[in-house]
Every structure is written in structure tokens, then in C-alpha cells.
Amino acid sequence: MKYNVVIVRFGEMSTKGKNKKDFVAKLAKSIRIALRENEDDYKMVIRHDHIYLYLINDIDNLENTLSEISGMYSFSLAYKIEDPDLDNLKEFALKVFAEEEGKTFKIRARRIDKSYPFISDEINREIASTILKNTSWRVDVHNPDLIFDIEIRDDGAYVFTKTIKGMGGYPSGSIGKTLMMLSGGIDSPVATYLLMRRGVEVTCIHFAAPPYTNSGVIDKLEDILKSLTKYQSKIRLFIVPFTKLQEKIYENSFEGYPITIMRRMMYRIASRLAQRLNIPCLASGESVGQVASQTIDSLNVINEVTNIPVLRPLCTYDKVDIIRISEKIGTYDISIRPYEDCCTIFAPVKPKTSPHLDECLKIESLFDYESLINECLDNLEVKYIKFDN
């Protein structure tokens, strides 16, 4: 069916009260950014319940582009009939049913403009009987091949047969900010995506320990973040020079503890950077139980170093489900490029699955990590990854 307008429905925003308009404005902004190369090809009208995109010219790849904007529950590709006279609707319906494929249909009219002379059910009957008389289509109200939606509004009738599920969540940046610990593996990009979908503005922090980590990892991260810019148009990446601290951790840790101590140091550094950037929470790609440092006991001991909230969007996900999402969002093939993001040299043969806090404190009293942390924070490198084609 040809269409000349897109009806955009909001996600969970109906639960919002007075600040709903801020969310809607953010969603409108996301749409403008996503369609910025076509700004002359459509006209946006924001109403209290929907956003309408009136198309002036065809926009390539419109469905895909819209389905990658967070905060959108669904959208319909509709045709607007300026004069909603019943005969006009019938004439248009006949054209559509001649084009579409299928055997059974259902008409679903909604009369939003109550001044329209027919009630919804009357519209349904009138249109349906026209179709039944003139075509071989049959009615099936329970499981139709085609649903013909009609919305009568004060400015005309909107007709559509195709409604596409949106990405859901909240508009980009509408919920607040977080500092995401990004390794470059499979999990952290997926966690980043889930946060972005939920409307959280994500800034990333990566711990690099050259030469124990490969310089190829940074390229890889940039490629990952580039592929996530369709969900958040600008992403900041902070790279922490972690080598010295990492070496000290390794030298001083007892068997089984280096990873625990390393994670504690990473959380300390991330917390302080977050504070400096006025970002009120941290995030990570940890999934409960996946590896030794992600058991509940480990998370408890690691989390002890910070008192700001840590979002762990993947905490209950199985690895296969994480992989499925990473394939869907296109980060999987980048994540599996063969670069070490944490050198195996630091991985203990037998990592502790239930580390003890007092042991950690003992290890940390053996060296002056404070000055090393400050050195890390003083030598941060920052990269800005932006949306481009």
C-alpha cells in the first residue's frame, strides 16, 4: 500500500505525567537526527498522543531507520485521505484490496473525531460490505490476513495496513547518564545497547594495558561504538592507561586474587571519573555467574569500593541470548576479532569464585594504589565517536 504519512506511537511514556512533553521532544530530536539527511523530505507534527511524519518525498530505508530509534513503541505507514467522506474511504479501500495479497480481512475503524457522522461500527460495516461485494476477500475478525485500519481525525482519515514494532524503551538521553565499562568483548557492547535503548546516555571507559593488551583493541572499540551510534548519535570513550597499576596488582596479589583486585581498581577509577564528569552511575556488562569475577560473592567484594549505583543490564542473561542480541545489533563480528582485551598472563590458573574482602584489603595495603589511580586519571585519553555514514 502506498503511504504518505508515518504515525509514530510512544513507548512507555504514557506512564509519565507532566514531563511527558520532555520525553516527546527528545524522541522528536532522535527522529530528526536519524533522518537528518532527508530533512526536506518530510514534515514533522507533534501531537499529544503521536508524532506524525508527513512525507514530501520517498525516504530510502525509512522502516529500518525508524525501527532503530529508542522510545518508539510502534509506527504505522499510513495514507492520509484529506476528505474522510465514506465514498472516498470505500474507493481507497477497493484500490488497496486489489493490490494486497491474502484471503481474509478485518476492518478496524476508530472515530477519534466525534463529529464524524458515522460511528466506528458503521464505518466497519460500510467498508466491509463494499469489499465483500466487489472482491473475493472474506471476513475473519479473529485471524485475518490483512487488517485495514482507519483512524478518523479532525484533519482527515488515516488509513494503514502495516504497523511495525519499534525498538521500545525511552528516547535517547531522556533518562539520565551512565559511565559504561567497555572491554570490547561480546557482552559490554550489548549492555551498552540495552542502556541506550532504555534512554540512558552512555559514556564509555576502557582500561588499556599495553603491551599486555593489543593496540588493535582500541580500533575494535571504535568500530563497535560506531555501530552503536545509530542508537546514540555521539559517544565519548575514555581510555585509561592501566599498565602500571595492572603490573602492581599482579606483583602483589595472592594466588587467585589478581582479577578481583583488578576489578576493584577499575571500579574505583570509573567511580572517580564519573564523579568528575557529573555522571551519577556506572554500568557494566557483567552477567551473574558467567566467570569467577561475576559470582554473587565476587560482585559483592568488587562493588564494595564504590557507593554509586552500578547498572548491570545483562545480569540475568544467558550467554547465548547475549550473543543473539549482539548479532542482531551487528557488534558480534567486531567483538570476536582476535585481540586480547585482557592479557591471559594476568588470568590466574585458579581464580577465586568467593574472594574475601579482608584478603583484598590486605593485598591493597601492600602498595600505594592511590597514586597509581591518580596517575591513571591524569593521563586519560578521550575519543569522540560520532554518527556518520
Binding site: P211, E247, C343
Partner: protein
């Protein structure tokens, strides 16, 4: 930048690039076309065949089959020979230290009816001739060996092998010379089939050849237009062939002088590295100076390679095609090293263009790196 990874690939020389660009711009016509420009290229390719044989001191008993490089040459030589001659016997022999493009081909044939023997190489980088005598038989139709090893640089006793295969008229000797040309003084006429590759000798990737005795019959791997005596269909890559010839002639022309220079360079490095407690050098009586391999005792090779790379010094841990997998080197394992040693070896490989000054800088940076990075807790 200091580039000590020339066994992976070398920088194409100016002469090679000029010859390539000239041929690609001015002689693009298909050498199999019968108009005068096609004929001209065709005739020139035939002259180049002779130049290539001459550069390797081979007579007209041999012929050149141009193709895409060493992997293809090894495949054609081994699979092509086996498929054509398996009615005469089904036993083939190679060593445990070959390049994957030979080993994987042997594994493939092993799954397709061949009886395969993989010869051991002893600690000194030699084939045990008595063992070889024992395994070779009337059923043996092919022996494939690389004269100079790509990872460790040791040179095998091909002459002794040849003495024995001579007594088996059905058996031909294939030599993968990708790492021999330009790296070691060698009598190429010992081989019945020889693999050469352009990009290992300052030529271009995608150019190489299988050189074989005319009397040896092969089954082609590719079917099509019937080029190269039906053995390698596909439009002849005239510019690539020109580039291969220029690279080979240049390499052979200055070989003696280059060999001596690199011997000095290697001598300097050995002198500086031999007393380093972190290192154990993998040195052999017969080896090319163009490849120097050593084991790290406590540090991780991949970390040292990365650290050197951050200092703009390019070296390699195991062979490049494998280096991202971090699997142990099959060559070091075959020589009796344990898994940890076989994982933590570094290969320096030189080109005639490398200098002693570069070696000095290397030693300085290398020592610093070894002192600064931490290793495995032992």
C-alpha cells in the same frame, strides 16, 4: 620503523613496482589473444620463463607454471602429482615442520587414500637419514620438504635426501623454496618440483610459480581456458609475472653480498642475545642468517611483540598466519620443545635492506622491554 618480519612478507622493491606499473599500464592485453599485442605479451612471458630458470640455475629440463603464490604451488605440486600418479603407488612423505600449505594438503590426501609419513626433525634441525631410508619404499611416489624452515631458519640436508630418492625412479622430490630463495645458497636442481613466491623476495603478493621437470605429469586444480599447459587455467597475469621475474633476478644477482651482510647482522644479534638470561636462542649448524628465532623463558611472546610494535619494531611470534590464535608452534613442538616454549618464541626475519644500525636499536629497545614488562610467575 624497523621491519624484522620479512619471512611473513617483504616490501616490494622500487624496481618491482616500476616494472609492474609499466606492464599493467602498457601491456594489459590478454597474452592469449592472437592479435599482435596479445602475442607480444605471450612471447615476452615465454622469455621470462627462461629468465626465471636461468636465475635459479635450472636448465631446459624444467618448466615454469605461473600462479598466485606458494600456497597454490604447494597444492598444485602435491595434490596435482598425487592425483595423476596414484596408480603408481600411494605413499607420500613430508616432515613435521612444513608450512601449513603443505601439511594441510598432506592431511587432505591422507583422508583421500594416501598413506602418509611425517618425518621427525631432530634437535639439530636435521632429518634422520636412516629413518628416511627405512620409510621410503617402492610405493613412495612423492617426497615434499622445505629446504629452509620458515619459522626457525634451519636448512635441511636435501642433498642426502636426493641421493636416496634417486634410487626410487617413481618418487619425485618437491621442495617448497618460498623461504629458501634469497635466504640460503642452494642447488635448485635437487628438486623435481619447486615452489617459489614473489612477496617473500621483495616482489608482490599474488605472484608465484611452481617450477617442475617437464616430464612430470600433474592433474590441474583449476579447469578453464587451459593456460599453462592446461595446468593452471586463468588469464595469465602478465604484470605479476614481470614483477616476479624482476624480484627473483634482483634477489639472485646480489645474493652473496646480501648473505654476508645479513650474516654480520645476525652475528651481532646473537652476540648480544646469547647471554640474556631471558632468552634461549634456537640456533642450528646449518641455517639461514635471514631468520633468527629465540624462546622467551618467562615473558609472553605476544606481549613482547606488542611492546616492540608500540616502539615501531615489527617482529613476529610463530608464523604470521597463526599469530592471532596463540597456538603453539608446530615446528618447535616437533623439535621437542614443550607447549609453553612453543608458544613463547619470537622470530626475527631480515631482508637485504636491513642494517646493523637497526639491529643496534632493536637490542636497545628489546632489553628495555624485557626489563620493564612482567612475565609469568614461575
Amino acid at each position: 620503523m624497523i621491519y624484522f618480519d620479512n619471512a611473513s612478507s617483504t616490501k616490494p622493491s622500487k624496481e618491482v613496482l616500476e616494472a609492474y606499473i609499466n606492464a599493467a599500464s602498457n601491456n594489459f592485453e590478454n597474452p592469449n589473444s592472437i592479435h599482435k599485442l596479445g602475442m607480444k605479451n605471450f612471447n615476452e612471458i615465454n622469455r621470462i620463463r627462461l629468465r626465471i630458470l636461468k636465475a635459479l640455475n635450472l636448465d631446459s629440463e624444467y618448466e615454469v607454471i605461473f600462479n598466485s603464490g606458494a600456497t597454490e604451488s604447494n597444492n598444485l605440486g602435491i595434490i596435482g602429482y598425487f592425483n595423476k600418479n596414484k596408480n603408481r603407488g600411494n605413499h607420500i612423505i613430508t616432515t613435521k615442520v612444513e608450512h601449513d600449505s603443505v601439511l594441510e594438503v598432506f592431511k587432505y590426501l591422507e583422508n583421500h587414500g594416501a598413506k602418509v609419513t611425517y618425518l621427525d626433525i631432530n634437535k639439530d634441525g636435521e632429518i634422520d637419514i636412516d629413518e628416511f631410508k627405512k620409510v621410503i619404499s617402492k610405493d613412495t611416489i612423492l617426497v615434499s620438504i622445505m629446504p629452509v624452515n620458515n619459522e626457525l631458519g634451519f636448512a635441511l640436508n636435501i642433498k642426502d635426501i636426493k641421493e636416496i630418492t634417486k634410487n626410487y625412479p617413481k618418487c619425485v622430490l618437491h621442495l617448497d623454496c618460498a623461504q629458501t630463495v634469497g635466504k640460503y645458497p642452494f642447488d635448485y636442481s635437487l628438486g623435481d618440483m619447486l615452489t617459489i613466491s614473489g612477496h617473500k623476495i621483495n616482489g608482490l603478493k599474488g605472484s608465484g610459480a611452481l617450477i617442475k621437470k617437464k616430464k612430470i605429469n600433474l592433474e590441474p586444480l583449476l579447469y578453464g581456458g587451459g593456460q599453462e599447459n592446461n595446468l593452471r587455467s586463468g588469464t595469465l597475469d602478465y604484470p605479476g609475472i614481470v614483477a616476479l621475474c624482476v624480484a627473483l633476478e634482483n634477489t639472485m644477482k646480489d645474493f652473496n653480498q646480501n648473505y654476508k651482510n645479513i650474516q654480520d647482522l645476525q652475528g651481532f644479534l646473537i652476540e648480544k642475545l646469547k647471554n640474556n638470561p631471558e632468552i634461549s636462542l634456537n640456533i642450528f649448524k646449518n641455517k639461514t642468517p635471514f631468520i633468527l628465532n629465540f624462546n622467551l623463558k618467562t615473558k609472553k611472546a605476544s606481549v613482547v611483540v606488542e611492546a616492540l610494535s608500540n616502539e615501531d619494531i615489527m617482529v613476529s611470534s610463530v608464523s604470521a598466519c597463526n599469530s592471532k590464535k596463540e597456538s603453539p608452534s608446530h615446528v618447535l613442538l616437533a623439535l621437542g620443545k614443550n607447549e609453553e616454549e612453543a608458544k613463547n618464541a619470537i622470530r626475527l626475519s631480515f631482508n637485504k635492506t636491513n642494517t646493523l644500525d637497526e639491529a643496534k636499536i632493536f637490542i636497545e629497545k628489546f632489553n628495555k622491554i624485557i626489563d620493564s614488562i612482567i612475565g609469568r610467575k614461575l
